[in-house]
């Protein structure tokens, strides 16, 4: 039987599901996690007892509302946790439940709400145990009540950097040092656009002020140079805004430069992509209602461009309303306009964040040849540059030549960095080196899966 399928149970997926159910449909909601919420509102396992305030801070009401919305839909939808979508070929989605049961699911319409992962710009030593993405450090705390170490350094850029520093400090694991690659002047210049979301802007200021008051050193315009250690990270080297190099002993490092979208399923479904200068990435194209270029495919949330959790909730509801309208069902036109206006305001804020946390443009030129870019296939920046010097400039050709992006993660971790290096070495613009293609299975499958009819 054909049905409406939503992939991803974060803010976008759950809002889409709620909207579809409210209009009488019974969607199937596929969630790779064991409980709904996505990464941003990830729930701790049963048996944990920390309060929503401890887990989600200022966002506790939003998190609880979203979890509550999913719980209330029980019986009205087919919610399938622990279910990975590993292939998509209209009108089918290939799923894997609990790592064992494979099932082919037919869809009439699909809402893709697959979210994002950290964007990583590798430094020497980043594969050492004790070095994690910022998102990982947050999951360790939120989902497992663990700190990634005792002497912790946080580096990179983006709102998560300050939020995480605050969350760790509040949980009793005060970071030794926070390194923000964005210069302070950029953050000051971005203030007018950031005021499009005054409460979010105020929270950002609050985290910064709190860290200052509690003695957590925060350096802006400061760059992580490398992690060093034998069997695990033991120190970081970093450069301050004046170009002075420092070394600090530590036992954990988390870093990342904002987020990147998970676009593989839209790619496998044949959706058109466009270049997004703000995201420095190719993104599946959507119209102002959330329609992809392929009929029956809808896009919502960070998987179609990074706008954050609040925008994901709005986009999830909007995509669902568009889907319902396309089915000929009556939807409230005023509500659609209201959602579109809210998204436009959030996009203005997003542009402000771009200015406040600009991409470190010099990363590719400065990356040492020895730095491992692809941690799956152990491909260095030097090997990528060699492939480019052999005449390759298309990222898929470079992949075929030196195996960058060919490993188990399919370029999720190295793809953004590889693109920067290829563009820099070939002298081409970042949007002139092609787009890393997705391939099924988009995540590894075990041997011996049981096929379910």
């Amino acid at each position: 039987m054909s049905e409406v399928v939503i992939v991803g149970a974060g803010p976008a997926g759950i809002r889409a599901a709620k909207t579809l159910c409210a209009h009488g449909l019974r969607p199937t909601l596929l969630d790779e996690a064991t409980r709904g919420g996505g990464q941003v509102y990830r729930q701790q396992p049963p048996g944990f007892s920390r309060s929503a305030a401890q887990l989600y801070g200022f966002e506790q009401r939003k998190a609880q509302a979203l979890h509550g919305a999913l719980a209330q839909l029980s019986g009205q939808l087919d919610y399938r946790p622990e279910t990975l979508v590993w292939n998509a070929e209209a009108p089918w989605l290939d799923t894997l439940h609990q790592g064992r049961e494979a099932q082919r699911l037919a869809f009439s319409e699909v809402v893709i709400a697959t979210g994002a992962t950290d964007r990583i710009l590798p430094v020497p030593g980043w594969t050492l145990p004790g070095v994690y993405s910022l998102g990982a450090a947050q999951i360790a705390l939120k989902f497992q009540a663990c700190a990634i170490g005792g002497r912790l350094v946080l580096a990179g850029s983006g709102p998560l950097l300050y939020l995480l520093a605050w969350q760790y400090a509040k949980a009793g694991a005060r970071p030794l040092l926070v390194l923000d690659s964005a210069p302070f002047s950029a953050q000051a210049r971005a203030t007018p656009s950031l005021l499009a979301q005054p409460s979010t802007f105020a929270k950002g200021l609050y985290y910064r002020a709190w860290l200052g008051l509690h003695g957590v050193p925060v350096h802006t315009g400061a760059h992580l140079l490398s992690a060093e250690g034998e069997q695990r990270v033991q120190a970081v080297n970093w450069e301050d805004a004046n170009g002075q190099v420092h070394r600090l002993e530590c036992d954990a490092l988390a870093f990342g430069h904002t987020l990147r979208s998970e676009t593989q399923l839209a790619d496998l479904l044949g959706c058109a992509f466009h270049w997004s200068a703000a995201n420095r990435a190719w993104l599946p194209t959507r119209d102002d209602g959330g329609r992809a270029s392929v009929p029956g495919v809808y896009l919502a949330g960070d998987g179609a461009g990074i706008l954050g959790a609040d925008a994901a909730e709005v986009a999830g509801e909007l995509a669902a309303l568009t889907l319902l309208g396309d089915r000929g069902l009556h939807v409230d036109p005023a509500r659609r306009i209201e959602l579109q206006q809210r998204l436009a305001s959030l996009e203005c804020f997003r542009r402000g964040l771009e200015r406040a946390f600009p991409f470190p443009e010099q990363w590719a030129a400065n990356a040492a040849d020895e730095v491992v870019v692809c941690r799956c296939e152990q491909v260095s920046a030097g090997e990528i540059r060699t492939a480019v010097r052999q005449g390759h400039w298309d990222i898929n050709r470079v992949k075929a030549t030196c195996r960058v992006g060919m490993g188990r993660c399919q370029g999720r971790l190295c793809g953004a960095a590889a693109a920067e290096l290829i563009a820099c070495e070939s002298g081409r613009a970042l949007d002139q080196i092609g787009r890393l293609r997705a391939q099924a299975p988009i995540k590894p499958l075990p041997f011996g899966v049981e096929l379910k009819p």
Binding site: P129, G130, S133, R375, K443
Partner: protein, 96 residues
């Protein structure tokens, strides 16, 4: 020495398991990654140089936390919950 440090939620039930054949103990609700890295420093050896790896993304994206179970299955340690009696084997990786 351990990589991860427990900050809260330490009153959960204890869950025995084996790590590379040695008896070990985690807590109910731990992922395999948490159970292992609260008492050890790595999860696997890298495929090309056997250097220690301990995961990176914790959200099922990087594929750098795979461990082997007693029944031969390979699973991501970050997204597999610990169960009583789980036998976890860490793979050494390969040297060039």
């Amino acid at each position: 020495m351990a990589l991860l440090r427990r900050l809260a939620e330490t009153h959960r039930a204890r869950v025995p398991f084996t790590l590379d054949g040695q008896p070990a103990e985690g807590l109910a609700g731990d992922t395999l990654l948490t159970a292992i890295l609260t008492q050890a420093e790595h999860l696997r050896g890298a495929d090309f140089n056997a250097e220690p790896r301990a995961g990176f993304c914790l959200m099922g994206a990087c594929q750098d936390c795979w461990v082997q179970l007693g029944d031969g299955r390979r699973v991501r340690a970050c997204s597999t919950f610990l169960e009583p009696g789980t036998c976890v084997q860490r793979e050494a990786g390969r040297r060039p």
